[in-house]
């Protein structure tokens, strides 16, 4: 069944997609692992995740750090620092 990935704001614009469903590849255990893997998927993803240190992540709609483990996740989101309010 895999996981749902979501992209927002300029991460979405650069990847060119808002959401997709993937199977987590072998060895991808943390948010940082996943961003490294996404970077290798083509020029759009390479550009989107180029400065991956500024990108924020959420697992199942809760903010997490880059060292958070993906096990059990059903929805993983990537986005820039928030600017609401």
């Amino acid at each position: 069944m895999g996981v749902k990935l979501m992209y927002f704001a300029w991460v979405r614009e650069k990847t060119g997609i808002g959401e997709e469903r993937i199977e987590l590849p072998e060895g991808v255990e943390t948010v940082a692992d996943l961003m490294r893997w996404l970077k290798g998927r083509g020029p759009e993803f390479a550009d989107a995740f180029h400065r991956s240190e500024v990108i924020r992540a959420a697992i199942d709609q809760t903010h997490v750090r880059h060292d958070a483990r993906l096990k059990g996740a059903s929805e993983i989101a990537f986005f820039p620092p928030v600017t609401g309010g």
Partner: protein, 156 residues
């Protein structure tokens, strides 16, 4: 203690009335309204689009509101945040806090805004003189959070 994420504008007076009407235990109501300015660091802004993460936005706003209610004795509270396209002068966000006493209402509203600014998944894209682009997060918003650290509260 509701939160709402909506495209439409809100009416401050009507929201306060709905929260406080018929109650005689509320001594202080604070509202904060954030509105869109036409000026961003000296550049004219003509429109703005607010994107958000449906589902997580509501969850995050509820978490922030729950935390405010744990810290201060609030009789009522409300967060309304808009998304979609906005023009200068348009309302963006409304926070309302009601308490028996004024300091709780002030502090809780201030706290809600600081946390909303750094945690609620909204992103602003501006269009104007300077072209079109995503608004950068402000470091000052991150710094504002340190005001609410629990250990600081304990030391005071």
């Amino acid at each position: 203690m509701p939160v709402r994420v909506q495209r439409d504008d809100f009416n401050i007076g009507a929201e306060v009335k709905a929260l406080t009407s018929g109650r005689t235990d509320i001594g202080a109501v604070v509202t904060f309204t954030g509105a869109m300015r036409s000026d961003n660091d000296g550049m004219l802004v003509t429109s703005m689009t607010l994107e958000h993460y449906p589902g997580m936005t509501e969850k995050e706003l509820e978490r922030i509101e729950r935390e405010a209610n744990e810290r201060w004795p609030l009789q009522a509270s409300l967060i309304v945040h808009r998304y979609g396209e906005l023009k200068p002068g348009d309302n963006i966000v409304l926070v309302v806090t009601a308490s028996a006493h004024r300091h709780a209402a002030f502090e809780a509203a201030d706290f809600l805004m600081d946390f909303l600014k750094t945690r609620a998944p909204f992103w602003k894209k501006e269009e104007g003189e300077g072209g079109t682009g995503w608004v950068d997060a402000r470091e000052s918003d991150d710094r504002a959070l340190t005001r609410w650290r629990r250990d600081r509260d304990a030391a005071e």
